[in-house]
Every structure is written in structure tokens, then in C-alpha cells.
Amino acid sequence: MTTTTAAPVRPAPVRATRRRRTEIDSRRQRWGWLFVGPFAIVFATFLIAPLGYAFWMSLRLKTLATGERFVGLENYVKAFSDEIFLRGLLRVAGFAAVMVPVQILVALVAALVLDTLTTRLSKFSRLMIFVPYAVPAVIGALMWGFLYSPRFGPAADLFGLVGLDAPNFLAPGTVFGSLVNIVTWQWAGYYMIVIYAALRSVDPSIYEAARIDGATGRQIALRIKVPMISSSMVMVVVFSLIGTLQFFTEPQVLRSIAQGAIPVDYTPNMYAYSLAFSYSQFNYASTIAFALGVVVFIGSYLFLYLTRKQSGLK
């Protein structure tokens, strides 16, 4: 945290200079602490301390019929052999495999199209694509719940027009797609803005040069624009990956209208939530949460490592 304020002390030929230097340094240090202070306090109180407490809890075990005791890593052994947790992990991995590419593709295409347009319509479209992100996630999920509802949703009418029965969007087989749809609707606009901002920062003279060299619009988009914003793309994918592995809000909200298709342990986070707040197993819930954290960390680290060239981390 403080590395930014601590300037390296170079050897000085004269003693007096060195003393002045250190004095300036420590004065800077003091101001540095002051600036970092408010953040550090909030960070420590609301993130580090709860994390530490949760980790301590995850090393203990308290069941309904027995007292609390220290069990070390026993909970973790149980978690990583817990069928429900592993099934949840597999499910979010499935979501990641589908949801991340879909979101990024939608966002990228929208950003590329908007980047080439300069009409008033493009400003309007940009705003409209972004709007779903401004809707709180819970409200968005509730709204989609109504749209999916066989009675209140428009599906029955739309399918009726062509003489078909509307599918049940909340059946066990279809709920996966329904959730992907909600998340894509909500997040594609946000990723689009990030990608679009990156595109705007590219020097347009490069495109001009490419055009003189005979590149088509598609070639410019795929061969020049995409590679030039690859670091932003990596960031967006990491956001989306982490968000998907921690999938919680949308399935939890939809569960209120599809309790059979979305069981309480649908995703690891939902599992941890119900363990803690429905079944009062706070210790094991902490373990699940931490175990998920480990998986997310490994997943995003692996991804960043594999894309270190594109992201410029190397």
C-alpha cells in the first residue's frame, strides 16, 4: 500500500543532502499514510477483518447437536469431497463456458459497430445497450421472472401468433438458458462500454494507414482493433469469469418462482448462503465460501497467466 510513497534512497555524496532527503522522505511518508488512511481503515475493517474471521470460522466445526471445536483443515477436506459443492462448481463452470463467451461476443460486436458509426443514433444505441446495467441486479431478475412467467409473460402471445405453445422457461432443462439470457442482458452493455472506451483511445491514423494499405472494414476490426484492445478484453473476461463463478443473485431471485428447477444448492455461493442462513452451519458455510474463493483465485490466475501476452502483464 505504501510502496508508492516510499522513494528509493540513492546514495548521496554529501552527508547533509542525505539527511535532507530522509527528512523529505519521512514527511512524504507521513502524508502518504494520511492519504492512504481512510481507505486502509475501511479496507481493513470491512474486508481484511471479516475475511480473517471467516477463515478462522472455517477451521472450526459446530453442528446442531454438538459443541464448537477446532478441526483444522477437516472442513476443507469435506468441502472438496462434498458432492453438492462439486456439482455446484461444475454447474458454474458450465455457466462460465457458455455465459462468458456469449457476453463478450455481444459486447465486442456492439462496441465495434458503435465505434464505426458516428451518427446520433449510435449515441442513443450506446445508451440503450448500457441501460440494463443501470438496473439493479435483483430488480432485473425479478423483471425477467415476470417475463418468463407463463401467465404474465409475453411468450404465450408471441408463440401463439405462429400457432405454437410457449416453452416453459423455468423447467429444469431450460432454466440454464434463461439465466444466461438474464446475465447477458444485464452485463453485455457494461462490457461494451469498457471495450468501446478502449477502442476510442486507439489512434485513428492507424486505421487510415490500414485503409491505404487496402484493408477492408472487417480486416480493420479483426486484425487491428481487436489486437490493439486485447488488454481491455482480458480484463473484461476476468471480470465476467469471476462474476460467473460467484453466480448468486439471479438464480437466488428466480428460485422464488422455480424452487424445483433451482434447488437451494444450485451454485456454490447459494449453497454457502443456505448453509449459513437456513441451516445455521456458519462454520461449514465459511469453508465453502473460502473453498470457492480458492477456486476463483486459481481460475483467474490461470487465465491471467495464459493471456499474459495479450494483457501486457508480461
Binding site: 481503515i41 446442531l64 447437536a65 454438538t66 401467465r151 424445483g260 442462513f277 437456513s278 445455521s280 456458519f282
Partner: protein, 459 residues
């Protein structure tokens, strides 16, 4: 020099913290100042109601009864030494989640809390509730039916004072049965015949819905055929008996599975917006309901304007020896975090302990009282319900149902059991698992869980 600088740095940080805290108080602290000037209450609490007698001891209460504000005002007007500070902390599981967190945190729970009787054991095992027998609960035992009292007590311990009940009956659409010329069923055999007859006569809806997430509803139906899945006594808190796949449960579930396969009952989730609309728009010809059901129904939107609702007793397996069951209903318990358990017990015993309070509860909240003086009064028996065309539904249905209810033993991990029940029932409806297999799976899951939680499990 060095030390001075350090010290200054340290001072600056707490100063900043203090400033931000002050800012936080300034923005959020206005609400609580009104009622917090008293010394007797000691702690700051924000009540939904306004407390005028600020010198009296304050008892905090969480509850979600409809029209409860009037009941609280009535209590506060008629008591000088103790005042109720009421908050609605959410309904059912929403409130339990907050309570559960407060138990784990060691603070934050109210003095008195509204709990459904089915969750009492789950909280009692966590030492979250006070045994009220030491605060004179026995004195009011005679004010309640034996079944209601059994639901709140375990052995000699009493963990709650019963408030309202959910004896079950069948609410039905007279107009639909008349239109298709089908007789209103009184037994489950007749119910199955009527279901088929309605369908054959061209009725496009279903006779009723069998929701896989019915939780207490499904369990009550099982119990009617003698299913008693739990053996549990708080005096031996680490021993539990589980028989979720007993004969009664299997018989009932096979019955419903048959109706589902014949396509004569619905299987949609309960308590969703769609379900609520279907209840009143003529999709279902009957609503198997608890005594609080009429209040629930009359509050729903999109109802058929010409619907003719009537109430009848719940169909029976054996008409010659009827069995009455209960769905829901609630109690007031005192939490072990309360520093004033005696005053809290007084509130629990007395808040719904007057006729005036109950008239509010019955007429504005559509509650079904368990307090005998009003339960057995002529007023309640003869009460006519406009929603049922003036039918005296208590006299016709619910009083008998309440009187015949013998109590039920719930699990110390009831919430988990319900969630698992939903899972296996959904599996049965969706994937065609047989009723017997579904219940065997449920049994196995519950036994495993019980052992994992450190119980000595007997099957």
C-alpha cells in the same frame, strides 16, 4: 523526532475515523431519537409504533401479523409498566434468517419473536429460546387446546405461547362444481372421482394444485394419514427419530402421484404470482387451505368477479374416523438474548390475551385464534364471512378441525427437511420417480444429515 511524527500520524487516523463515524451518525441517526430518551429501556431501538409512556420498560417484538399495529397500540394503552416496541423484520424465512444471524452474532435479537411452531425446535436446540415454564407459562396452558400446546412444548419445557393456528379445510368454488354437475367431495376417494369427473365434463382447470414446494402443506397432508416423521424431545436434544418414509406418507404421496399422472391436478409451485392468480381465477376448483387461507385468498388480485366460494371440511381417508391436521400457525417466543425475560414473557402471554386484541386479529387480520376464551365464544363461532357469502366457516369447518388437532412433532432441522422434501417431490413430478422411492431417498438424506450434525439417529 521520530516518535513525535509517529504519534501524530496515529492521532490523525483515529481522528479521521471519528469524523467519518460522526458523519454516519448524522445521516442515519435521526429516526431513533424520538423514543430513546428514556432511561428505563436502556438501549436504543427504533420501533414502528410510537411509544408514549416512555418511562415504562420496553420490550422489543418482531412479528409480521397483519393489522398488528392496532394490537400493539391496544397493548401499550392498557399497560403502564411495560411497553411493546414492535418491528416487522420480514415474513417467515426472512425473519428467521435475521434471527439466526443474531443468534450467531450473540446480539441483535429482539426480546419477543413471532415464530411458526414448526421452527421452534430448530431454534430451541441452538439455545436461542427461553423455557417459559419458569415465567408462568403453565398458568395460561388451560387457555389453549391440547394440540396447540403440544406444538409449543417439548416435555416439560414450553418455548412459545400459541397465537394463531392453521386447522385445515377445503375452500371450493361452488359455482364450478354446480356448472359441471359434480358433487363436493368429503373423502379422498370422492376427491379423486370428482377430479376426473370435472375433467370429463369439460372443466379446463384442475381440481386443485399439488405444489412440490408445499413444505408444511405436503407434510400436513401426509400427517392426515398417520405419518409422524419425527420423534424428538428437547430434553434429549441430541436424539432424533426419523421415519419420513412411513406408511402414511407413502399412502398419501402415491395417491397424489396417481392424480398427477392422470393429469387431474396441477403441479405448479405454490406462493408464486402465477399460483396466486390461478387460485382465484377459476383454474383450481378447490383450495386445500388452512384457516388463514380465506384471508390470503381475499387479498389476491385478478379474482373472478362471479366466484362463489364456500368452505368444507378437508376430505378424509376414513369418513368414520376423521383426522384433523394443521398447516402453519404461529407463536410468540422469548429469546435467550433478552435481558428482561420476565417482562418479555408477560408480553408474549398477554398481547393476544384479550378479546379486544383478538377482534382486531380476526376482523382485520383474518387470524384463527388459539386462545380459548375467544375460540370458544359465540362471537367467533357465529361469525359470518362476506367472502363466503355469509357462511359461518368457523362453525362449519375450522372449529372442528382445530378441536380435533392433536399436535405434531417437528424436526430440529425442519428447514433442511422441507428443502429436501421439495427436491424429492419435484423429482417425482418431473422425472417420474415413484412415490415410494422419492420418500426412501428423502429418508436416507435426512438420516445422513442427522448423523452428520451429531445426532443419535433412530429410524
Amino acid at each position: 523526532m521520530r516518535t513525535t511524527r509517529r504519534t501524530r500520524g496515529r492521532v490523525a487516523v483515529p481522528a479521521l475515523l471519528a469524523m467519518s463515524l460522526l458523519a454516519a451518525c448524522g445521516s442515519g441517526g435521526d429516526g431513533g431519537s424520538a423514543g430513546s430518551t428514556d432511561a428505563a429501556g436502556g438501549e436504543e431501538a427504533s420501533c414502528t409504533n410510537t411509544i408514549t409512556k416512555t418511562d415504562a420498560q420496553q420490550v422489543t417484538v418482531w412479528a409480521w401479523y397483519p393489522a398488528f399495529a392496532d394490537v400493539v397500540d391496544l397493548f401499550n394503552e392498557t399497560h403502564d409498566d411495560v411497553q411493546v416496541c414492535w418491528t416487522n423484520a420480514g415474513q417467515g424465512n426472512d425473519e428467521y434468517t435475521k434471527f439466526s444471524t443474531a443468534i450467531e452474532a450473540g446480539s441483535g435479537a429482539p426480546d419477543v419473536i413471532m415464530l411458526e411452531s414448526e421452527v421452534i425446535s430448530s431454534f430451541a436446540i441452538r439455545d436461542a429460546l427461553v423455557d417459559l415454564s419458569q415465567y408462568g407459562a403453565d398458568e395460561v396452558e388451560d387457555d389453549y387446546t391440547a394440540g396447540a400446546w403440544k406444538d409449543v412444548s417439548s416435555g416439560d419445557a414450553v418455548y412459545g405461547i400459541p397465537v394463531d393456528g392453521g386447522p385445515m379445510g377445503m375452500l371450493y368454488r361452488q359455482d364450478i362444481f354446480d356448472q359441471y354437475g359434480v358433487a363436493v367431495p368429503t373423502t379422498w376417494d370422492e376427491f379423486a372421482t370428482a377430479a376426473q369427473a370435472l375433467k370429463d365434463a369439460g372443466f379446463e382447470g384442475y381440481i386443485t394444485d399439488f405444489p412440490t414446494n408445499g413444505r408444511a402443506f405436503n407434510q400436513a397432508l401426509f400427517a392426515q394419514a398417520g405419518s409422524a416423521p419425527w420423534t424428538y424431545d428437547n430434553a434429549e436434544p441430541t436424539e432424533v427419530g426419523i421415519t419420513a418414509n412411513d406408511e402414511g406418507a407413502k399412502k398419501v404421496l402415491e395417491y397424489w402421484d396417481g392424480l398427477i399422472e392422470d393429469g387431474v391436478v396441477g403441479t405448479e409451485d405454490a406462493f408464486t404470482t402465477d399460483y396466486n392468480t390461478h387460485l382465484v381465477d377459476g383454474t383450481y376448483a378447490t383450495y386445500l387451505a388452512a384457516a388463514w387461507g380465506p384471508g390470503y385468498l381475499s387479498g389476491l388480485a385478478d379474482a373472478d368477479s362471479d366466484a362463489v366460494w364456500r368452505a368444507a371440511p378437508l376430505p378424509q381417508w376414513d369418513a368414520s374416523s376423521p383426522v384433523q391436521v394443521n398447516w402453519g400457525g404461529s407463536t410468540f417466543a422469548v429469546t435467550s438474548q433478552s435481558e428482561i425475560p420476565e417482562a418479555a414473557a408477560t408480553v408474549a402471554k398477554e398481547i393476544f390475551g384479550t378479546e379486544e386484541a383478538w377482534k382486531i386479529g380476526i376482523e382485520k387480520g383474518a387470524l384463527f385464534p388459539l386462545w380459548k376464551p375467544i375460540l370458544e365464544s359465540d362471537y367467533f363461532r357465529d361469525l359470518e364471512y362476506p367472502f363466503f357469502g355469509g357462511q359461518q366457516i368457523n362453525k362449519d369447518v375450522f372449529l372442528d378441525a382445530a378441536a380435533g388437532y392433536e399436535g405434531f412433532t417437528f424436526s430440529p432441522f425442519q428447514n433442511y427437511a422441507y428443502d429436501q422434501q421439495t427436491t424429492v417431490l419435484f423429482d417425482m413430478v418431473e422425472n417420474g420417480t415413484s412415490a415410494g422411492d422419492a420418500l426412501d431417498t428423502l429418508q436416507e438424506t435426512l438420516v445422513t444429515y442427522g448423523k452428520e450434525q451429531g445426532f443419535t439417529v433412530s429410524e
